[in-house]
Subunit: 245 residues, 2 copies
């Protein structure tokens, strides 16, 4: 079984609007999750509204499996986590999405299938459904304003799952951030001071030492990259040429 | 200036649909962000559709400030990060949301105001807009399916900002997960073995040693909490009573 095959399943329990199922499919696929299971969807299955909303994520909808109960939906899984926004006095550990993602990743490495339960749009999971999980995932939102919709909650969980694989951004910067060596910085500063001197900047002469030190401090602390020191020298060289014309 | 005051500003550049501005306000407030700035919103401002969509996050919409240019919108900020999905050959470092959040948090601790730029719904930020930032935030999505909408992108960034404060879930578990001591485990096992013995489980007698060892292995490896050993002993005690009746 490949790593991709054992990504966590997303299980929507009693989902209502087909549009929300479709939006969930899109949310999942953004972070590489493809396995969608539905427990007793209110409007039956297949649901044209779900397919329409899913758009480019139609494959997730087409491959979704439907079950009557949570137990049936997770019978082939080894670890089940329930996403809930409220405390229900259950005898279960409560994890942040980040900790949950690490746990799911550990199971995936061991070749075990996992599932994440999400409840119905308004009501969420009921206590008996949560009790079928090994643990709770709680997204820490603003206690005085908690309004994540189903797809947004899936985004956060799927994002953390995806992150647990590694934390590289999608594209590499062309920014060459090799820090300038002290020699490069000193060469640039000496170059600049020489040009400033030609331009008559160090006046009056008894302030020259302080003025030079200020130039040096400014450019030493500018955190320039090696490439930036060359860029800067090109700019001041050109400025000095203009003055000479 | 309090920590709350210097949370990053969310700057929407040339946003189109009022509904998306409202959804962004909701996304922000879920993770405690309240400072919204708009650069040249297509449909003017105020926008009734934005207010309607924001619902409980109306305060974010009511306090939003509108500017003509990105430069105007971020003139009082010390660090500006631009959210982009594409590479543009710019001379800027590229960060994941997590790294960006840590950078923003460092600035906030130092009392400096920060801003995060988000582009228009379809087109995103143009290169000149990105060039006004100190760095790029790239959300690592599925390269073959990238469809996060504006509010969903804000969710991911705001979630990471919120996380950088700490990673506690919203509610504490009532689950007492203090692991059982070896003494508690042994007491439970001895209790169980004694009851099983009374029940005639260890038969035939020459298998008793192996059978006891299997019971011991099973319960030693069950990773029970201290509370769970007491729960288990209560259950087997009750089972043994039933048998005695």
């Amino acid at each position: 079984m490949s790593g991709a095959d054992i990504a966590p399943l997303i299980v929507l329990v009693r989902p209502q609007m087909g549009e929300n199922i479709g939006a969930t499919a899109r949310a999942m696929l953004n972070f590489g999750l493809k396995g969608l299971r539905l427990v007793a969807p209110r409007d039956g299955w297949p649901n044209p509204a779900a397919k329409a909303m899913a758009a480019g994520a139609a494959e997730v909808i087409d491959n979704a499996r439907v079950f009557d109960t949570v137990v049936d939906a997770v019978s082939d899984c080894h670890l089940v986590l329930a996403t809930t926004a409220r405390h229900r006095g259950l005898f279960l550990p409560v994890h942040t999405p980040q900790v949950a993602a690490e746990t799911l990743r550990t199971e995936a490495h061991a070749g075990r299938r996992t599932a994440i339960l999400f409840g119905a749009e308004k009501s969420g999971l009921d206590s008996n459904e949560v009790a079928q999980a090994h643990g709770i995932i709680n997204i820490p939102v603003n206690p005085s304003f908690s309004s994540l919709n189903l797809a947004q909650a899936v985004i956060v969980i799927a994002y953390e799952w995806s992150k647990a694989k590694g934390t590289q951004p999608l594209f590499e910067s062309e920014y060459d951030d090799t820090p300038a060596s002290m020699g490069e910085v000193d060469g640039m500063i000496s170059h600049f001071i020489a040009l400033l001197d030609q331009a008559g900047y160090f006046y009056p002469d008894h302030k020259r030492v302080v003025m030079e030190r200020n130039v040096r401090t400014l450019l030493t602390n500018a955190s320039m990259s090696s490439a930036e020191t060359r860029l800067f020298r090109g700019m001041i060289r050109q400025l000095a040429r203009m003055r000479a014309d």
